[in-house]
């Protein structure tokens, strides 16, 4: 790979010159028109030279600073200020199962990759939005087919999708939007209506005017987003732009996963989208184990305890749900608390700069005791400082704190400051 390297026999001067010319040509070629994006990634960055085997036999990058900065960009981009979000979401997931979904550019096929990632997405969605509902629509053979009704049970969606995999015919975006709009019509006004289309096809084969369907979605305040697997399609971009959604194209399986999971946290919401209201909710008590009861949702005899609706005393076997008898929303307080971190996010950490006072640097991460960079014999990478409590953290804890824990361990170990979220 390095033609400019020293020749062992010591070649004549003109040969060296020629080598240098060739080298220049090669470089121009690498940087220029012929190199594809993925080739450039390998040719320019030479990522394999940056690897080193550690004590445990795992490959580690020699200097991970740049890589870590790249990965931090994502949650730095997230807004830190408190913004209003649509916490109670009604989302229709439109999965394209047309002929294009059988393409094998994703392995083993687009359809299989989408099915696996949609499962991840559904679990993450209900983890982050326990009060929300989701339904699945499949686009296949020119028609839209409702796989599941809007409901709050992740498992039923996943089984329904897995049971009906199989690519056929054309995709019709208009039919999908119309069916999604029909599904979202009866939901209460405070709910946020959303459609996420996972699209493999580059065409849409519609029975009527798709622009009318888009206008209807806009009128009903349905936020439509599209995640594409192939290439950008004009009508999808228009749909996302007009309805306030996002349109993204996945370049790889990992990228598709990231793009899908971007739809898991509740999106920022405008006040006029969904007027605020007080929702009547019940907080059922759990019956002690061992008492036999028949649950209202499955009509099964259960011995392992059930929840009792405080209004009509019907028994349900899982929360959150809607009472099957009096249709009140049944909820437990942890479910509500699970959503609070969206409202009180941890401020992003700042990267510590070597120029700022280097006296008395902690050698280890406050949270996990791993060695930090910046001191003699320390690890490579970035060192992060919380702007509120000024403790130092490692890169991994930064990711944990902002992506899964949603608490700053340092800030939790000091008296509450006035700018902290209320408890």
């Amino acid at each position: 790979m390095s033609p400019a390297g020293p020749h062992p026999q010591g070649p004549p001067a003109d040969a060296l010159l020629q080598d240098a010319e060739e080298d220049g040509d090669l470089e121009a070629e690498e940087a220029g028109r012929d190199a594809r994006a993925w080739e450039r990634e390998y040719a320019d960055e030479r990522s394999w030279e940056m690897l080193q085997e550690d004590d445990a036999g795992l490959l580690r990058a020699l200097d991970v600073t740049a890589q870590q900065r790249e990965r931090r960009r994502r949650h730095l981009a997230a807004p830190a200020a408190r913004i209003r979000r649509g916490m109670i979401r009604y989302l229709v997931l439109v999965v394209d199962l047309s002929r294009a979904a059988a393409e094998v550019d994703f392995h083993p096929s687009r359809m299989a990759v989408v099915a696996a990632l949609v499962e991840v997405f559904i679990r993450e969605f209900f983890d982050q939005n326990p009060l929300s509902h989701l339904g699945i629509i499949a686009l296949r053979a020119g028609v839209a087919q409702r796989l599941t009704e809007l409901s709050g049970s992740p498992q039923s969606h996943i089984t329904a999708l897995k049971a009906s995999l199989g690519a056929d015919g054309e995709a019709s975006l208009q039919n999908g939007l119309d069916l999604a709009r029909a599904a979202l019509a009866p939901i209460p006004a405070y709910g946020h209506r959303e459609v996420v289309v996972v699209s493999s096809a580059l065409t849409t084969c519609d029975p009527g005017d798709i622009h009318a369907a888009i206008a209807a979605c806009k009128k009903h305040r349905i936020r439509c987003s599209v995640v594409g697997l192939a290439a950008e399609v004009y009508i999808c971009a228009t749909l996302a732009r007009l309805t306030g959604g996002t349109y993204t194209i996945a370049t790889s399986e990992g990228h598709l996963r990231d793009l899908l999971l971007e739809h898991a946290p509740p999106p920022p919401a405008l006040q006029q989208d969904a007027p605020a209201s007080l929702i009547r909710m019940g907080f059922p008590q759990r019956q002690p184990d061992g008492a036999a009861s028949i649950c209202a949702c499955h009509a099964d005899l259960r011995l392992d305890g059930a929840y009792v609706c405080p209004r009509c005393k019907a028994r349900v076997c899982e929360l959150p749900t809607e009472c099957h008898v009096c249709s009140i929303t049944l909820m437990s307080s942890p479910h509500l608390a699970r959503s609070y971190h969206h409202l009180f996010p941890v401020p992003p950490y700042d990267e510590w700069q070597a120029s700022s006072s280097s006296a008395a640097l902690p050698a280890t991460c406050f949270a996990c005791q791993a060695g930090l960079p910046g001191v003699a014999g320390g690890a490579t990478g970035v060192r992060l400082v919380c702007p509120r409590c000024a403790r130092h953290f490692c890169f991994d804890c930064d990711a944990i704190v902002h992506e899964s824990l949603h608490n700053c361990p340092g800030c939790e170990c000091r008296p509450a400051a006035p700018d902290d979220p209320p408890g």
Binding site: R286, E322, S327, A337, R338, A363, A367, N407, P409, G423
Partner: protein
């Protein structure tokens, strides 16, 4: 995020992260009332940690103290095993103060001296603070749980086979309402990582936070009627590894209170109203949300007229 699913972890090597409450208010009350001093607790903890480490030669333990002055690592068995390569002289950072200098022999004495030092510092500050201003009486439980989870995840990033992690929370003080969100966040994170939180309440009252933590994460909650026999309880219940728990009958709490308390009167309610914008809970209808200021545009909501009755799910 989901670093290790259960099969990738070995089932007999455990990692236990212990959060130990050293709030002088609790221990003071105990010292007078229940004849259980903090010194006696430290002695019992040393026996417990030593016997836990004897269960398997690869067992790991880390101890975090939670007090009124913050939380700190006082013991980390992984650092002592790896030797000086991982040992950074950290004289400046109180939390990591030479965690790794000891060998296998001296766990007892080192643990005792560190706990004593932290406790006496806390007591000193408590006495100093008594003269001026309102001293802080709250234990930073959420901070200790957050640090413990970061530590667990660090071990799960390490070489395979990974130990089965679990957390043990030895706690005494009542719940602090201002830590509700942070404690719940830590709990959900533990649930996602499949890290059970075992709880041993040595205080006078049950903790609703920790009851929920144990319930959600699949841990064991116990409130010993005689705290001075702490060691017996610890050896009987939280010392069980996760694999053995499938075959043993562990004490089960009578019930977990999942009811919410309203933000307006702090009453525990089973029917209430929830703001659709910020999910605050209220016990009575109002025109405006007192938390987020949203003005409710609709009249008193009734159960949606168009709401369909659901089909029984298969």
């Amino acid at each position: 995020m989901a670093q290790g699913t259960v099969p990738s972890r070995t089932d007999d090597v455990s990692l236990m992260v212990i959060t130990l409450e050293i709030n002088p208010y609790i221990w003071d009350k105990h010292g007078m009332g229940a004849a259980f001093s903090i010194q006696a607790m430290v002695e019992q903890m040393i026996i417990f940690v030593n016997s836990y480490l004897l269960l398997h030669h690869q067992n790991q333990v880390a101890i975090i103290t939670a007090g009124t002055e913050g939380c700190a690592y006082i013991f980390d068995s992984a650092a002592s095993k790896q030797g000086p390569s991982n040992a950074q002289p950290a004289a400046t950072n109180g939390s990591a103060n030479g965690v790794s200098e000891e060998g296998e022999r001296g766990i007892g004495s080192i643990l005792a001296s560190r706990i004593q030092r932290v406790v006496s510092e806390a007591e000193q500050k408590w006495k100093d603070g008594g003269s001026g201003g309102e001293p802080n009486r709250t234990t930073y439980l959420s901070g200790a749980l957050s640090m413990a989870l970061c530590y667990v995840q660090r071990c799960l990033r390490g070489p395979k086979p990974q130990p089965q992690p679990r957390m043990l929370c030895i706690h005494g003080s009542p719940d602090a309402p201002q830590q509700y969100i942070a404690t719940m966040n830590a709990m959900f994170s533990a649930q996602k990582l499949q890290v059970p939180i075992d709880v041993c309440m040595i205080g006078g009252q049950d903790s609703a936070f920790l009851q929920q933590a144990a319930h959600l994460t699949g841990g064991l909650y116990q409130k010993p009627p005689r705290p001075e026999a702490l060691l017996q309880y610890l050896l009987m219940v939280p010392a069980m590894d996760l694999h053995s728990r499938q075959f043993l009958l562990a004490p089960r709490p009578a019930g977990v209170d999942f009811r919410a308390s309203c933000f307006c009167h702090k009453k525990t309610i089973d029917l209430g109203f929830v703001c659709s914008v910020c999910l605050s809970i209220f016990c009575q209808f109002s025109r405006e949300c007192s938390t987020c200021g949203a003005v409710y545009t609709m009249a008193r909501p009734t159960p949606a007229a168009g709401a369909k009755r659901k089909e029984p799910e298969a």
